[in-house]
């Protein structure tokens, strides 16, 4: 013990020597960090400027009134276009169906792979990430015959815009998988399940009342991402001729660009608030959730 103490005292001497020299190095460091700080601020201003400018221009454009005045008339006018209101409602309905469908499909499957068939985990992961390698426009080409068939054979439901939820669930899989997976990794799901089962809970109860509450952060993130994705989806709905929010915004752009910019900005702000809330209130879960590849 004493030897170690001596050793550390001995080691302290060169350290002390370095300490004398330090002010020089620290000065260099400070100069460097001042340089870094100004570089950092310059980058923030320039790149941020580029990112913010079009958003600012949207705000400016959509609030133009008569004779150079400012007015919110374009925002008020949103509700005077019935197809815009319909588009918003349609997209929100699709979003709700997508969220529930996605959770129903993904959550039990993911829990099951962790608890019972870990060997299949990689397969499920691969299938969930697969949509990243297949562009949305390619999915449209391949799925159009399936939709034509559904439209002809499934009655009113087959032709409803709600059927878009089927594809949206596929599109959201990569993001939802990552969000839920990062939550599942933070809790020992297998042990939780075993404990619940050994106390006599059936599988539905184990999943719904024991595991789901423990991964609610990931479930929340996945749901929010699904909502944002559905509200922003254009490619598939436009090519399959469904009038969702984005399609309506696009069509409106030709008639009344001021109102369509107003709707766009409102939708972007809405999506921002949603994502900011996950970043803020579901940390950890939200962190990885917003990662990777868009679906534009």
């Amino acid at each position: 013990m004493t030897g170690m103490g001596q050793g550390s005292v001995g080691a302290a001497a060169p350290g002390g020597g370095a300490l004398v020299k330090r002010p020089k190095g620290a000065g260099r460091g400070r100069r460097r960090s001042r340089l870094q700080t100004s570089g950092r601020i310059a980058i923030l201003v320039l790149v941020f400027g580029y990112l913010v400018l079009p958003l600012f221009a949207m705000a400016e454009f959509s609030t133009r009134g008569d004779y150079g005045s400012r007015s919110l008339a374009s925002y008020a006018a949103i509700f005077e276009y019935p197809d815009v209101v319909d588009g918003i409602m349609t997209s929100l309905e699709i979003a709700v169906v997508t969220v529930f469908g996605m959770l129903l499909l993904l959550v039990p499957t993911m829990i099951w792979t962790v608890v019972r068939v870990p060997r299949m985990r990689r397969v499920v992961e691969f299938l969930c990430l697969l949509p990243l390698a297949i562009p949305a426009i390619v999915i449209v080409v391949g799925i159009a015959p399936i939709y034509r068939w559904m439209g002809q054979n499934l009655g009113v439901f087959g032709g409803s815009p709600l059927t878009l939820a089927f594809i949206n669930i596929i599109l959201v899989l990569p993001y939802a998988y990552r969000a839920i997976d990062s939550s599942i990794r933070t809790v020992d799901v297998a042990t939780l399940a075993e404990a619940a089962r050994s106390l006599g809970a059936g599988w539905p109860r184990t999943i719904l009342q024991v595991i789901v509450p423990n991964i609610r952060g990931g479930i929340l993130s996945a749901s929010v991402l699904a909502v944002a994705l559905v509200l922003g989806e254009y490619t598939i709905s436009s090519l399959l001729s469904f009038h969702t929010l984005q399609v309506v915004i696009y069509l409106l752009g030709k008639r009344d660009p001021f109102v369509s910019v107003a709707v766009s900005l409102a939708a972007l702000v809405f999506a921002f608030v949603l994502l900011y809330l996950i970043a803020r209130f579901a940390p950890g879960a939200g962190k990885r959730a917003v990662e990777e590849e868009p679906a534009t």
Binding site: G29, R40, W112, V124, L229, I249, A267, L268, T296
Partner: protein
Amino acid sequence: MTGTPIIAPASPGTTAAGPATGGAGSRRFRGAKNYLALIPFHAYVGFFLVLPTAIVAIGAFTTAQGDFTLDNLTRLFTDDVLVSAFMKSIQLAIMTAIAGAILGALLAWAVVRGDPNGQLRQVVIAASGVLAQFGGVMLAFAFLATFGFNGLVTILFKDYLHVDMLTDASWLYSLTGLAVVYTYFQIPLMLIVFLPSLDGLRQEWYEASSSLGGSSWSFWRSVGGPILAPSFLGALLLLFTNAFSAYATAAALVSQGSPIITLQIASQFQSEVVLGQENVGKAIALGMIIIVSIVMTLYALIQRRASRWVR
């Protein structure tokens, strides 16, 4: 103290005894039942993702009558319009991936220097998520409001600064315009993808390098650079596929013709008229799948290497 050792060996014993008494048959049966629970998921993905992909792949090799043909695919290499659309898409994707990766990496660096749980970071990440992933048509309109014929910057230059720059807004509707808007959504995507790697770059390494007499430059050249290189390269590939497969922005901006490949698919899709070319759209789609799959496979390989340093 005595309780735990007794229970501990006992529990593996009982679990081992369970399947043993049940016999190998029931164990295999239970295993099969476990796999059965995954059927809904696989059926769903099979029907709505694998089947459409198969329809595309098979359609690319068949005529409208269902006979085998290579005409659709050879068209990809012989039809000037399609060749040029593929080339332009690839060019656009490479250019905007590089520009977006550099600007996004710089922005990520500027953001990561701040407090990891700070407001700035959370706001930037949320905003990046929106701009990178849910833009599409709305971003096209944002640029029309900025650089369009009645856009903010156009009016500013024309009426207030009286400079003859950017006053002819038609550039926005061309490939140049697409490149500018694409770069706009590449930057936030780069930030989202690259931020975790920058987080993995530890302050201790920087201190170790400088205490050994290394300058800031030598740190980036021999420590930071090599560590970040795989993630940067991976992100570059991801950005490439992102721009390559983008459709919404281009559809909303480009008014004349179909200069890029996603617009070509859409126009083939919307007007399936020319006799004998019914499945050309599927061939183009298959071409896209092949290009994107190659790039994404490379991405996955690089990512595996890059993830070593990500905390």
